[in-house]
Symmetry: C2
Subunit: 330 residues, 2 copies
């Protein structure tokens, strides 16, 4: 395999790395990013605030489909990272993005990507701080680091769930899994608004930032659902050293969950990016209020007990057997 | 192209994403990273400090060679980012890494990578804050975001060079380009310590963090050399709205620069990760002291004038024609 050869000329008509950055990404730069024209961005943390950091990468064909609209891919990349900030109770402060584009460049795709990123960052009141643009012979590989802020000491961790707490989830479960199935199986012909909403959810997840902030000091533990409800609840259980029991009948389900096999399948499907959290029963009214104030439904779906692991039970209290929870990359 | 299928089982003997993170990367986690077991890391900025952010991605076959040792690849990924912090005058505070490994996983490679990362982060007194691990069918794609800190208002920008300033560079130019040529052309048989040093420089660049800090309040503009001396000086010239004239004979050259075509080739080769900066002539003695105190040679290589662009002249003052400066990804 050959290394890069800095003296090899490129055809003059092709835009270079700096052309792409200047044309499409510099307009997204926030204060302190110097128009992406410097070595690094500078950020002054507000007094009394802590900063929060998370990074996620997405790969064409794994985390998004090759024919997903470019603007949706950009919005999703930002959203999945902001969803991690939401789970900590933080708000977005800025982000950095590194993009490995295919070497045979589709500049229209990049233009659409940048436009979608601009729309999404405006919606979430966050701006670009920096990044890098390279080329790959493989599938597109996009990485984003999100920076959030929250008042000192107010981060909601995964390790605070206690026996006796209830388990809650925001929104509906299974929509993204249904959306993916619709796209993969070509079920879009003659579809209903529910079908379209499911596809929209898969392509453009909504990070629950307002709810996350409202949960500060209220939720004992919180995580966002990326790998699937059961898998992510498993992380809460492991970090909190507690057991979690989920009532299958209490799951707020996608109206089209039947397309992927119903509730038992929906809770092992990923990509919903809802918040999954625990709280003391006494806080339930405040929790429901927090949901209402932030325009999000909040459903109680189970309880935390002493022990380890996650168990799903049906209406009769009988344990439900599940497919392998969560996606494995390797 | 098929999307991911969360219910598809993986062979039980293969380590999953979380196994890899727990086994190899959790031991590198710093304070506030919660052992990589939470949604995001929390960092409390020291009072009076600003934070600095930069991100770089590297691709197998482009930024490193497929048979480069894994530990060197890790060290290089961290170093190229820390080099950007050095150019701003910042010190490292933490970093996040996203890795797209080949789907057919070489766990030994990952173990060596993590070990090299651990050694490098210890050397630079910086710790892992978070990241993501995914799989790709294409070449390995590694992205790192580095977070630095510096006293409020002390960042060295690219835009401060003024007509009358001198231009300086740290260390030697061309070593990395020579090292790459040695590796690509299989010239390692019967090599000298100079050959080995050049390969070492290509594989394990040394970010000039101590010099960068010493240049705060002293350098009028600074950048690190990643794309090549001429290309990176072009960025300083553009951002500072000034012209830069380089004396080819004053360039501190790799002793093996002849292998790649001498000085005129060395200054368009990349990857040296030396600091390239400007300062008022009155500050030269302090600059040379700063170099000496940080164990780095500092050489005056030219001057800033009114105008635009970069010009390289020979000992007789005649303009030198150069190959296309800098590497183009597209």
């Amino acid at each position: 395999m050959s290394g890069r050869n800095p003296t090899e000329p490129s055809p003059a008509q092709k835009p270079g790395e700096f052309d792409l950055i200047g044309r499409y990404f510099a307009p997204l730069a926030g204060p302190g990013a110097f128009g992406l024209g410097d070595d690094a961005a500078v950020l002054t943390p507000p007094p009394g605030q802590q900063l929060v950091f998370t990074a996620d990468a997405i790969i064409a064909g794994v985390h998004f489909l090759a024919d997903d609209p470019a603007g949706d891919v950009a919005a999703k990349l930002l959203a999945v990272n902001l969803s991690d900030l939401a789970a900590m109770g933080a708000v977005g402060a800025g982000y950095l993005i590194t993009t490995a584009w295919p070497r045979v460049l589709d500049e229209d795709w990049i233009a659409d990507f940048a436009q979608g990123l601009g729309t999404a960052q405006a919606e979430h009141e966050i701006a670009l701080l920096g990044g890098d643009t390279v080329a790959t012979d493989g599938p597109m590989c996009l990485s984003l680091t999100a920076i959030g802020e929250l008042p000192m000491g107010s981060a909601i961790r995964r390790n605070g769930a206690k026996a006796g707490d209830n388990i809650y989830v925001s929104g509906r479960i299974g929509d993204a899994g249904v959306g993916l199935r619709i796209l993969c199986d070509g079920l879009m012909d003659g579809t209903t608004p529910d079908h379209q909403a499911a596809v929209e959810r898969y392509r453009r997840p909504r990070p629950r930032l307002a709810l996350g902030q409202a949960l500060r000091g209220l939720a004992s533990a919180c995580i966002d659902i990326s790998d699937g409800l059961v898998a992510d609840l498993g992380h809460l259980a492991a970090q909190s050293r507690a057991a979690m029991t989920v009532d299958l009948a209490a799951i707020p389900l996608s109206p089209l969950a039947g397309l992927i096999g119903g509730a038992a399948a929906a809770i092992v499907a990923g990509d919903d990016y809802e918040l999954l959290f625990t709280a003391a029963p006494d806080d339930e009214l405040r929790l429901l209020d927090a949901g209402q104030e932030t325009g999000t439904t909040v459903s109680r779906i189970g309880r935390v007990t002493a022990g380890r692991g996650v168990e799903v039970v049906d209406a009769a209290g009988v344990k439900v057997n599940l497919a392998q929870p969560g996606y494995r990359h390797f």
